[in-house]
Every structure is written in C-alpha cells, then in structure tokens.
Symmetry: C2
Subunit: 578 residues, 2 copies
C-alpha cells in the first residue's frame, strides 16, 4: 500500500492537534497542514491578555509550554508534520480525493491528493450590518494580526476612548484589556438586555454589569449600533446607536462568529442551515474520508438533544485528538457538549454550563430557577467570599438543565461548574446535585457545600416548601411599583435591617427570624409578605414558620439582600453580615 | 395520632442538620437533641484554624454564617428544636422505644420515649498503644476542649517544641497550625512509609513531605512511637521512637478515628467488625425506627463495592438532611462515596478521590498509574503554576479507580478532583476523562486541560504507546543503583540539561527532542534509555520516535524532572522551564 497522506485544512488548535496525534500513532503517514495565514498554531483565546499586557509578547501565544515557537519548522522537526502556510484551500474534488490549493504569495494554484482530509476551517466573525465598519480604527478580534494592530495603537498612546460592540465573552475581555491596563475610557454596547446574553440570565448578568461599571466601563445594553461615523480630524470616530453618540479612537466589534463551512458546503458535504459541518460521533463528515472538527462543525447539545455551534479552543483540541485517533485506525468518539463556559471580567469570574433559564423556557422545558449565595469555603475560614450560583431544573422530571455563577474566586467557581457538568451530560436530577460528593476541607468548601445547598434549594422549590420570588420581581413590585399591598419582612438582626426600615418605613418590617414564633401577631394579615434575609436561608426558615401559622401569602426573596445589592438594584447600608 | 417525637443522640454536624430538616418539613414533630458535651453544633474541622489563629475566636466555630451562636437556646428559638446538653445516652430499649439518659451534671437517670431515634454518635479517636499518653501535655484533636487547651498553651508561650504523632490530614493541619503561626519547632511522626498514607501514593506524598520540610517541619516516616516519657522539669517530655528521642513541650496524637457504634451494638443493631453501624440507602439501621449517619456508620465505597468508614463533616451534613427527609415522610437515599478528600498543608493543597494505586492493587485491581504535571491554566497566562495529578485505572476494563493531586492552587486542584468524582462514582473510563468537558478560558484552564491530558496519558499507557517508568523507579535504578547499563536521555534544550550532564557525565545524554530524528545514530544501542524531559510530554514524543526507529529498550520517566525535583529526589539546577 502506498504511504497514506492526511491533509489538514487549517493549522490552529484542531489542525495541529490532529496532525501530531496521527504522527505519534502512525509515524509512517504523510501529514500535511495547510493554512492561508503565516501565523499558525496560536492560542487565539489569549489575545485579550496580549492586548492587556498580561502576556507581554505575541510569541508567547505561539509557543509550547516549554517555550519553543510552534513554527512550520518546529512542526517539521519535532513532529514530522509538513506545513504549507499562506496557502488557501480553494476546493475539494471528492471523487479524485484531491484538494485544490492557491499559494497566496505567488497566486499560483496546485493540487494535493489525500487519503484522509481534515477540515479545521474554524469560524468567521459576524459583521454588524451598519455602515462605517471599514474605518481603519475599527477592529475585530479574530486573529493575531488584529491583536498586534490593536496593541500597537494602544502602546503608542493613540487611544483615549474605546467602544466595544458586543458584550459577549470576547467583548467583556477586551473591555477589561483596554481599560484596565491602558486606562482607556471604555464603553461596552450590546443590543441584548444584558451582558453575556447567551450564557447568563438577567440577575447574574447584572452582577457582572455592576462590576464592569465599578471598574469604570460604561455598559449600554438594549442599544443598537446604527452607524460608525469617521471624525473630522486625527482619525477618531463616532459610534452612533439608537440612543446616543459615542466618540472613540478605537472600535472593536465582537458580535459572535459562525462556522466556516464554505469549503465543505461547496464540496457537497452536509452542513446545517447555519453553515456548520455535520459530523457523526467519530467526527466524520458525510464523506467518510473527510473529517471535521473545531469551530467549523456543530455538535450535539446534551440537554436539548439538538445540534449547536460552540466554538471553544477546548473542544477543538479534544476533537483534534479524536480525529487523529480515528484516522490512525483507532476508535474514538465525541458525544456532545453542555456548553461549559468561563470568562474572567476584571476581578469577577463567570462560569456556566447547560441552559440558562431563558434558553430552557424557549426550548419548551417547564423550567424552575434556584439562586443561592453562599460562602465559597467554610464560613469561618478567613478568605471566604460569597459565591452566587443559579440552577435551572425541569419541574416535571427534576432534571438538571443548567447552572451559572459569578464569583471573585474564579478557580473555586469554575471547579463548581465543572463538577456539575458530568451530571448535566448524563441527565442527572436535583437529588444528584444535593448528594454530589464535594471534597471537603474548610479552606476549600463548606461542610454543606454551595453546590449541595443549590440542589437542596431546588428540591425545596420543586417540592413546594420554598415559595420564591426572583430578585428582579422584587425590584419591580417592591422598589419600582412600591405597592402599599406589599410589605418586606426582614428577618435579619436589627443592625442589618435598620437602614432599610429607615428608607422604606412601614413597608419594611424587621422581625428577626429567631423571634418570629413569638411575634406572629405583629404581622399584617392583609398584605403580601416578601420575606428577606441576607441570602435566602433564614428567610426560608421564616417562610415555613409563616406557612405553618397559616400565613400563606408570603414568598421568599431568592438570594436576599446580597443578590439585590450585587445586582446593583439597591444600595443602602455599609455594614452587612452575610 | 399523638405528636411524633424524634430523639437525636449527638448534636454535632449530622444531629442538628437532621433536627432542623425535620422541623422544617414537619413543624408538628417534637424533636429533641441529646449530647453529653456542653458544646454542640460546632465545626470540628475548623479546630486547626482556631489553633493557628486563622480563626481568632472559638465562638466562630459555633456560629452560623450570619454570626449567631448555635446554642441550645438558638435551636429552641430559631429552629424549634429542644436540646439536652451534658446528657449521655446510656442505652436503647428498642422494644419499648425508650432511650435511657444520664444527666451528667446531676448524675441522675431518666427515660425519653421516641417514635424515631437518630444515632449521630460520631467517632472515637484511636489511642496509641504506648505508655505515657496520660501526660497533661499530650492531646488529641477531638473536640473544642482539646482545641482550647492546646491554643491556651501556645498563647502563653509554653511551647517551644511540638511532636505530632500521625501524618494524616489532621496531623498535617496541626503541624502547620503550631509551627506556622506560633513558630514552634515541630516534628511529624508516622509509622507509615509516607505522609497522608491512606490517601496518597508515594510520589505525591513525597512532594508534600518536601514542602513540610521546606516550611521547617521535620518529617519522620516509617518510625514507630514506643513511649512518651515525662521530663524531669518544667512539664516537657520526650517522645521515644524506634529511631530517636524527640523532646517536646506539646504532643498531639492524631492517629485516626473509629466509628462510635457502642450504643447501637449494645442495642443489638447490626454493626461491622470495625464497629460501624450498618444502614440501608435510606440510612435506617437494622431497626427501621432507628436511623444513623455521620462518623458512626460505614458507607458503600463506589469503587470497591465494600463498606468503609469515611468520617467527614460533609457526609454527615448530607446524611443528616437525608435522615430528616425520610423521618418527615419523604424519600431520600445516600448511595455511597468515593472518598473525596482535601487538605491544605501550608501553601500546598492535596486532594484525592477513589483509590490510591496501592489501595487499588490490594483490592485486586490490575491497576495502572498515570502521572501528569502541567500548568493549571493556559501556559501563557501569568499566574499559571504546575499542578501534579496522578490517575489510577484498571487495565482490563479501563475504569477510573482513583485520582490524587498536589498543587499550590487549592481551589483549582479541588475543582479538578470534584469534576472527576461523578465519573468515578458512575464507573467511568479513561475515555470519559479524556473527553471530559472542562469550562475553558485561559485564566482558569488550558485548552487541553490537565484533566484531559491525564486521561490521554492513561489511554496512551493502556494502549501501549507510552511505556513509562515511575519517578521512584528512576530514583532507585538511576540515582541509587547508578547502573552503567542505564542512560538517561534528556530531550530538553541544552540550557536545562547542562547541570545534569555536568553532574552525571556519560550517564546523562542530552539530545533535544526536535533534533532527535537526525541524531538517532548517537544513541547507545546496548543501554536501557530512560527518556526524560521536564514533565513527560516531550519525552513521550521522543519515546515514540525511538520505538519507530526500532529502539525498544526505552521508557518514559513520568512527570519528568519536575516530579523528581518536587518529590525531593534530586536538586541541581536553578533555572528550569516547565
């Protein structure tokens, strides 16, 4: 048999991973990577940290952990993989098993035959449908050329004001990158009702917005960009939204990406309506000699059972290895994802997996939400801090549908989310979360860890013991509508409650939970009671006491004062217990 | 029907949790907690942090997260739970459903009838079988009285030297507590061959020992305490082992605990040979009106399928809620544990779940071990640090049997271990770990996270691609025996290799991996090659190149130079890439 040749289109993340895996298992195979760029095998997710200065040198994003540059020469010498850069794959002739290539330097065409072809063509950034984006101070964050150009502008002091369009992960990271290190006055604009709209529900998202604003980033949500207008002088420009004009020296658009399935589609391979390449569990396309993975495919969502596009460097790497194993004659499968997500926004970490409440509802689930704010380690341990977690479950089946959280301690938060991923992927229930084994020691967890408490809370809601009100509903009915028929029953100690009683008068009643049994007569019988403590724990206890005493017209405000304050709904007192 | 009464014996961790859960679900029930101590519902796991001063006040260990003391009065008022302190449960009359009590203050006896009884009798500390332990400067760490007494001695400056007997979690925590904050010269002594013997295998344990010694704690393993001898003056004493005499002003024994099943056994309930109460999944004992949980029971180990004793505050809390639910008429189950574990030892965190390699072998598994040392986040991210993880798998079934790790970043480590727990509990395979979804962002994970890399490494070992040598085998055959038939092939760059070449001469050959293909002729054909890099990644690549060239007499040293140095086997160079 002639020497088998594997041709890989795309040399970032998945491509190199597949190439190296094949060569390790089958050194006799001829493996060729083709990429239209001169930069290959770089960590694109590191761009915001290069722009911010956390990563000082662009080469760090192109190096191995042992500080060798992942150049074409490196792949040839250390890995035995051939690399053709500045070479575009124009078309696939599947019948002849030939790839038509264009050398971009010489603009010549040539053919390369393959036994196996791997499509690692990545994604294409979405473009805003507005005029003015061709201005030289308008950038995307899609490759190292963008990164270098943005940093160069910042480094030479040419940027006083920046507008970031799109408040997804990359938008938030870029907002931090340009404002934190470079002192740039920064605005973040999104058409959605809150930041990180695909990932977070409103209350956690408002906690992130609040933090962005504390750190000096202006956040404009529910705002549509209409036009980018060049300024008269010195290269500055104006971003015109439906609500205001924002002057800027730098505009970055980060409004999502879509799978780059052009080559596949033109070759007659199956693609989704969104353009994502369809693959089986072995990551073969509809042509078994052609594999695809990474940002150009769509994958099964374990919760919805549907295909979705989830462009993540982590998936690309894992899929690259699977493709490598399979082409080398092994058997490996990729079964899907629950959309695990993490992002650092200044000093706050955000992480999530599965569906948000909003997404679960639109998928047709009878979704129920639990919100818990609790210390991320033993509450007596000195470095403890409050973590916020929200859980989405299905009412009828009690299945876990999604989890999301916000915390100043990123590792602790991401670890919690990761621990729930296997439960989500295997259709676990709230009881599985209540009983989830979490390694315990006071510096790292509570004896009843926040994850278990979250499961417990969801159980109590599903079982009808805990009748809850969402913080945003509290904001609307108590803070905004201020209906006289509604009274907040604050069951904390008097010191915590005092500023609220002062601010809201008769509408804010303070009866500490431990005295409630004796003071039930003091409660107004004709009002709706919104029971409140700092986190939702004592108020749950109080709610049960009220209901046992026949007072059914009461609800427990989930997350308590902590949630309301972290989400920026209300700020009164300075000295607050947790 | 008469009002149902639930009597709970033991008012720490499980007892209060069960009591409160019952009252929340069934406020009509009469719930009584009985405890022989005056201190109840305290966080015993916090004792080392109280002794160290991290927790300044003993009351913090007895308070809620909202700073209320969990006194009998608190339980009465806030929870509706009656509490009888300084009251010992003497015997159960199961026929009459009556508990016989002794009031310790008055030494009077009385009877208390029950509908449901909960045994939360906890554990009893093991005692060393040696003379002299009745000395007033010899302590255990089993309750707040011990904690207060130890701290009082430290605070008044009465302790210059301390000996801790037992290098389990509590021994290690106490070694840190007395030496770090109080500057006490501290020795840690254990009969086992390494610290944390029940949890860690030798290489990770030696990393912990190395760290303890760096922080000034002397570690004496494989050493048996024979006697504690009172000193002639000022209350000091001498701990005599089979190898030396250790002078001390304070001796702490922490040699494990055993389940306190006396009351159950005497009442004719089923207990294990070790004294642990046997319960079903609903946590009922062999008498369906009597429940038990926490440190006094044994639970199913998900990996071995056997009962084991696993005293952890986290299990006690979760089990307390389950018992509460069941007594209140619900249905909840506790299905077992994989023995998840975490401990902080100075600046190092240790965490584990499932079986160690040693335990897996003695359970009869055909166990295989993979060791990975990798950055805990993107290798280009500035705060990245090396994490060490070891995986134990079954060769035939490819089942995951256990994971253990050591890291300076405790949250990142514990999060990794927790993410693997659901896989362990559900008999996942190495492929499940390779494909485990880990939330990715450079500040929190690598694109190919260390967990996935660990799965990949184990796969490569099982599939025969990666032929490994354990660092301790390297230590024995290369460093100790120094056989001339064995050569270390260092495939790192010359700068890293130079000090080793200088130290070991012809026995340490440096050929960087990326030049290996061209220099295969330079390799000695008649020697055994131990292939080495900093972590085991490049050496794996090199191993495959050697084998493809027909050089079969080569092995990859797992964990590379990083493991060997962290475990204190060798220290030569100062400037090391990862």
């Amino acid at each position: 048999m002639a020497r088998q040749r594997v041709v890989i289109v795309g040399a970032v993340a998945l491509g190199p991973k597949a190439a190296c895996r094949i060569k390790r298992l089958r050194p006799d195979f001829d493996v060729v990577m083709v990429d239209q760029d001169q930069y290959i095998s770089y960590g694109g997710c590191g761009i915001p940290y290069y722009v911010s200065g956390d990563v000082s040198d662009l080469s760090a994003l192109m190096s191995t952990s042992f500080h060798m540059l992942r150049t074409p020469e490196f792949f040839e010498k250390a890995k035995g993989v051939r690399v053709m850069t500045r070479t575009r794959a124009e078309a696939i002739d599947r019948r002849r098993k030939v790839l038509r290539l264009r050398r971009l330097e010489t603009q010549t065409e040539e053919e390369l035959s393959y036994d196996y072809l791997v499509l690692a063509t990545g994604s294409v950034p979405n473009t805003l449908p507005v005029p003015g984006l061709d201005h030289p101070r308008v950038f995307r964050v899609s490759n190292l050329h963008d990164a270098a150009a943005i940093k160069e502008m910042l480094a030479k002091g040419a940027v006083g004001r920046a507008v970031i369009i799109g408040a997804g992960a990359i938008g938030c990271e870029m907002a931090e990158a340009v404002s934190d290190m470079w002192g740039v006055e920064t605005c973040l604009v999104d058409i959605a009702s809150h930041v990180l709209p695909g990932v977070l529900d409103s209350v956690p998202a408002r906690m992130v917005s609040e933090h962005l604003q504390e750190r000096g980033v202006a956040v404009y949500t529910e705002e549509t960009v209409r036009e980018v207008i060049p300024g008269s002088e010195d290269g500055s420009l104006t971003v015109r939204t439906d609500k205001r004009d924002l002057d800027a020296d730098l505009v970055i658009t980060a409004v999502g990406v879509r799978p780059n399935g052009r080559l596949a589609r033109e070759a007659g391979l199956l693609v989704t309506p969104r353009g994502g390449i369809v693959v089986n569990e072995r990551l073969q396309t509809s042509d078994p000699w052609i594999y695809a993975g990474g940002d150009c495919i769509e994958v099964m969502h374990h919760i919805t059972g549907k295909l979705f596009h989830f462009p993540q460097g982590s998936l690309a790497n894992r899929q690259g290895r699977i493709i490598g194993t399979n082409i080398a004659g092994g058997h490996a499968t990729f079964e899907g994802s629950v959309g695990s997500f993490a992002v650092k926004v200044f000093d706050l970490a955000v992480a999530a997996a599965g569906l948000s409440f909003k997404a679960a509802c639109s998928e047709g689930f009878d979704a129920v939400q639990a919100l818990v704010i609790q210390a991320d380690r033993a509450h007596f341990y000195p470095t403890q801090d409050l973590m916020t977690l929200a859980l989405v479950v299905d009412r009828r089946t009690r299945r876990l549908l999604g989890i999301q959280g916000v915390s100043r301690n990123g590792d602790a938060l991401v670890g919690r989310i990761n621990a729930v991923v296997p439960l989500l992927a295997r259709h676990g229930t709230v009881e599985d979360l209540s009983n989830l084994e979490v390694a315990y020691s006071p510096p790292f967890a509570s004896a009843m860890d926040i994850l278990n408490a979250l499961g417990n809370t969801a159980e109590n809601i599903l079982d009808g013991h805990n009748v809850t009100m969402d913080p945003e509903d509290f904001e609307r009915c108590f803070l905004q509508e201020a209906s006289p028929e509604v009274v907040c029953l604050d069951v904390r100690g008097p010191r915590n409650a005092a500023p609220f009683v002062e601010a809201f008068g008769d509408r804010w009643l303070n009866i500490p939970q431990e005295t409630l049994a004796e003071r039930l007569d003091a409660l107004p019988k004709d009002k709706r009671l919104l029971v409140m403590c700092n986190s939702g724990v004592r108020s749950y206890e109080a709610l049960l006491q009220l209901r046992a005493a026949g007072l059914e017209n009461a609800v427990n405000v989930q997350g308590g004062v902590a949630a309301i304050k972290k989400a920026g709904m209300l700020s009164l007192d300075k000295d607050e217990d947790t």
